[in-house]
Amino acid sequence: MIFETTPSQTVGPYFAIGLPFDVGPFAVPEGTPGAIHIAGTIYDGAGVPIPDFLLETWQADPDGQFADMYGYGGPSALDGFRGFARYGVEDGDGTFDILTVKPGSVPGLAGAIQAPHIDVSVFARGMLHRTVTRIYFADEVEANAGDPALARVPVERRPTLLAEPDPAVGGYRFDIRFQGPHETVFFAV
């Protein structure tokens, strides 16, 4: 390392001027076969839904391929797959809703296999740096049991990383809690 990084600062209350875009919440185009919604609510330390936040997600496609220009494992074969969603809201009810596909398993380190997962960043006023978590899927019991990142999480906290199937949202529900007895697990990357 020759240089040091530029420090992070908060997105503040007015990021909606610059960051959200029309198809941001769509990691896949509408009508993609197998598309699912992932929806949930983000709660602050008092258990109150956060009205202003920016949530971003990054994930592989169902075959474990990424929509990355650097050619890791080759491009996704899924038409229009972006693998990235950005959901920004400035005075909402704390809820988000993205459209995506369930990712496949992808390699971990040293030959390990990772369970299907989605990386998540949350930005907001009052956050001087992004917070990072991962969405896993509650119905991937076997794959989750062998996941090296979940293995680092105390057993009693693992449920905070599991999206639960929910027909009402057309996919899965994943809530994020910043504090309290069910505080979501956040990661240092």
Partner: protein, 255 residues
């Protein structure tokens, strides 16, 4: 093949080959490189930070890849915030430019840079911003561009004004432009603020001072640049941005 490589100018060899030379991990940043999530001076952090310690996440393919949104998002005039409306915005016309590097000093080309800011009176074109400074119908305050082959970005805009906020009695934010960078990997994602040199509000602003290290704070401050000034048109500020560079090999990850 060898001859072709040797024929490249040194500057080009500095730039990542998008296929051949891709980091397998990114450096873990030392404590204090970024502000703490819990910072009492900035009151809104109180209920918006995790209480439990962060858990170490090994960097895998999910973390060393990232979205490439540039072409998807760019529109006409996105890098000139002074021509997005019928009339001219009021204020000091400035050029803000610089390069995006990683911590090895290698430029990041083709990466998306997004900005948003207040107008010259310090007011955002946002329905929540209600303090009694004038709105400017000719200034929305948002821009986007993609870095060129040398990692360079460039915006033409209006110098934003400082503005009051409710954190404490007589609180004012130093003038700033918000910057959002995707980098080339999930690990490099950065949202920050660019400040202007010599701002008298620096000592009083908890957000600026949430970065505890003086040298790190200075990395958020742009420099006046006579070189980038456009004669008879706009003065200029230069600001380089450094994202995380390659780290240790992933087999040496801490446990």
């Amino acid at each position: 093949m060898t001859e072709e490589v040797q024929a490249q100018p040194a500057e080009e060899r500095q730039i990542y080959d998008p296929i051949g030379e891709t980091p397998t991990s990114y450096l873990r940043e030392p404590e204090g490189a970024h502000p703490p999530l819990d910072y009492p001076g900035y009151k809104s952090t109180a209920l918006r930070h995790p209480k439990q310690p962060l858990i170490y996440l090994p960097q895998t393919i999910t973390e060393i890849t990232g979205p490439q949104l540039g072409p998807v998002l760019l529109g006409e005039n996105d890098n000139d915030l002074t021509v997005q409306h019928e009339g001219e915005p009021i204020g000091e016309r400035i050029v803000v430019s610089g390069r995006v590097f990683d911590t090895e000093g290698k430029p990041l080309r083709g990466t998306l840079v997004e900005v948003w800011q207040a107008n010259s009176a310090g007011r955002y074109m946002h329905r929540w911003d209600r303090w009694p400074a004038p709105l400017d119908p000719n200034f929305s305050g948002a821009g986007r561009c993609v870095t060129d082959d040398e990692g360079r970005y460039r915006f033409t805009t209006i110098k934003p004004g400082p503005y009051p906020w409710g954190n404490h009695y007589n609180a004012w934010r130093p003038a700033h432009i918000h910057f959002s960078l995707l980098g080339r990997a999930f690990t490099q994602r950065l949202v920050t603020q660019m400040y202007f040199p010599g701002d008298p509000f620096f000592p009083y602003d908890p957000i600026f001072n949430s970065v505890r290290d003086e040298r790190a704070r200075q990395r958020m401050v742009s420099q006046f640049s006579i070189h980038d000034t456009v004669p008879n048109w706009a003065h200029a500020y230069e600001w380089d941005i450094y994202l995380r560079g390659p780290g240790a090999t992933p087999f040496e990850e801490a446990h």
